[in-house]
């Protein structure tokens, strides 16, 4: 009886694992395989393997939209916002964690409260502000918004790391004659490396995939980011499925490749971000 029970459990566990892999990978694999099929092949049978490695879809997709340029735009906007964001939040987090001044707690609470605000609820005011500041349809405008998105989680992660740093190090630095900046830069920042990379990863991932603000705040091709390409293809290609699928592959491949290389760090960052936030 007990043995039977155990076998049943093993079956259940493997069944769950199988379902998970199936649910997770089937759409991705199907899209990847189908992107090498001609439109006719896709229309005649959705499951068949491509008869030959058809690259027409990719050619078509690349000729319709300058995907490399958009990739570059995404890279610029996301990297710049991540670097600036993590830098200024590290500065603020350091002061909020290690220095004493009036209103410290309140300032931190107010900053962190931004976590509760769904970005979408501020869509229209931010849009209007960007127009008024002359930042509509500029990379700078989008960068500014993306810097803001990273605020609550980065501040939280970095502050708790700085809080945990031993006091002695700072004191030793002071005795050595290191000033405020030097202590921050050469003593404290290196200690916060894990939190810095977690914040950076979370900010980068979130903003790399961001669609709504990118859609609203940019209009010209030179500022469009990668996620918008996918929206573009749903409206433009209509029935050219192999081009649409090829475009989709080109949009998601970079993310998947980066993920495969940085898996451990990404998972750790997501755990830190979710649990501490």
């Amino acid at each position: 009886m007990k043995k039977k029970h155990k076998a049943g459990k093993t079956v259940f566990e493997y069944a769950v694992m199988l379902i998970v892999v199936f649910v997770a990978l089937l759409p991705v694999v199907w899209v990847l395989v189908s992107s090498f099929k001609t439109n006719k092949e896709i229309l005649s049978s959705s499951f068949s393997l491509p008869t030959s490695l058809y690259l027409g879809g990719y050619k078509e997709a690349l000729s319709k939209v300058n995907i490399p340029a958009r990739f570059l735009n995404s890279l610029i906007v996301t990297s710049v916002s991540t670097v600036i964001g993590v830098t200024i939040y590290a500065m603020a987090a350091y002061v909020l964690a290690r220095k004493n001044f009036i209103g410290k707690g309140i300032i931190f609470t107010i900053f962190i409260s931004s976590m509760l605000i769904p970005g979408n609820a501020l869509l229209q005011p931010i849009f209007l502000m960007m127009v008024r500041m002359g930042l509509y349809d500029t990379k700078a405008g989008l960068i500014l918004v993306y810097i803001g998105f990273g605020m609550p989680i980065s501040l939280f992660l970095l502050r708790s790391t700085f809080l945990g740093c031993p006091k002695e190090l700072e004191e030793a630095a002071a005795i050595e004659g290191a000033g405020f900046l030097r202590t921050f830069w050469s003593v404290m920042l290196p200690l916060a490396k894990p939190a810095l990379s977690s914040s950076a990863i979370l900010m980068f991932l979130g903003n790399w995939n961001e669609l709504v603000f990118a859609l609203l705040l940019t209009s010209s091709e030179k500022n469009r980011t990668l996620p918008l390409t996918m929206k573009f293809f749903t409206t433009t290609f209509g029935f050219d499925y192999s081009a649409m699928l090829a475009a989709l592959v080109l949009c998601m491949l970079p993310t998947i490749i980066v993920y495969l290389f940085l898996q451990r760090q990404i998972m750790e960052s997501m755990i830190a971000g979710a649990v501490k936030g």
Binding site: M17, V20, L123, L144, M151, M244, V275
Partner: protein
């Protein structure tokens, strides 16, 4: 408390200014505008005209809103009662560390890594009436009559797009799993010696210890679906009719298509209140604010 020297004081201020500026520009001022304008009639060109609670009254009387609210709440319930439990079950199964568990975990993360937009676009192919794999599969196994134009029929649209996010619970699995690794294995082992089955260990030992992390998961998931926009935007745009409209989508339409900013921002305020509500309820329910 040691007194700060003047130069330190200046540094403190300098270090806080950038963050404070970003906060004011992107959170404080927009939030203020959202809340204030929600009591006005405003198209962005002319000055705001104070109308009291008019927008809110109009919202609550509109059928569109009730549909959007209903859909938003259906999704919140699906997130709390299907999405999160599924993620937790997967993490408990993975925690047995059967052969291949790492591969399963890595695979599960992939849909979470590619954007919601990409995932939604993929599913528009799966649900296509002619070439979609779902219908092809149904035809293949002789269930022709079960085929649908999944995204375009009122009866199936909401169900279909729910499936685009419902099972992708890798974040929940990830945080529950990391919590499981922190629970001492001694507890489970001594229970095993006392003759407890694995299922009993899961239900009676692990689950109570996971209460707070599950609470965190519910907050993340529910607040996440409140904001959910891309999935709908890419697939159905809220249609057919209003069948898949939610609050975020409705707000976007009001801003883009009709410049009813006061009305749209009142929707924004309601969205904000809903999110805060969920946070408060979950805090109480899962006793997340208690230290143990």
């Amino acid at each position: 408390m040691r007194k700060n020297s003047t130069s330190t004081k200046i540094w403190i201020i300098l270090f806080l200014i950038p963050t404070a500026a970003v906060f004011c520009l992107l959170f404080a001022v927009p939030l203020f505008t959202t809340v204030v304008s929600s009591f006005t009639k405003w198209n962005g060109m002319e000055p705001m005209k104070f109308v009291g609670l008019d927008n809110y009254i109009k919202i609550f009387q509109s059928k569109d809103f009730l549909t959007a609210l209903k859909n938003t709440l259906i999704w919140a319930a699906a997130a709390a009662f299907i999405h999160v439990p599924f993620g937790v079950i997967v993490s408990l199964v993975l925690f047995r560390k059967r052969k291949g568990w790492k591969f399963v975990r890595s695979s599960f993360m992939i849909p979470n890594m590619i954007s919601k937009t990409a995932l939604a676009l993929m599913f528009t192919f799966i649900f296509k009436p002619d070439v979609g794999i779902l219908n092809s599969f149904l035809r293949g196994i002789g269930l022709e009559k079960w085929t649908h134009n999944w995204l375009q029929e009122e009866a199936t649209a909401l169900f279909s797009i729910t499936n685009i996010w419902l099972w992708y619970a890798a974040l929940i699995t990830l945080i529950t799993f990391s919590e499981l690794t922190m629970i001492s294995s001694g507890l489970a082992e001594s229970a095993k010696i006392d003759g407890a089955t694995d299922l009993q260990i899961d239900l009676l030992i692990y689950l109570p210890l996971l209460k707070r992390i599950i609470g965190t998961g519910v907050v993340i998931a529910v607040v996440g679906v409140f904001k959910e926009f891309e999935t709908i935007f890419i697939t159905t745009n809220g249609g057919p009719g209003n069948a898949t409209m939610n609050l975020a989508m409705m707000m976007y339409n009001r801003i883009m298509n009709s410049s009813q900013y006061g009305y749209a921002n009142a929707l924004g305020v309601l969205l904000l209140l809903l999110s805060i509500g969920v946070l408060v309820i979950c805090n109480k329910l899962f006793a997340m604010d208690k230290e143990d």
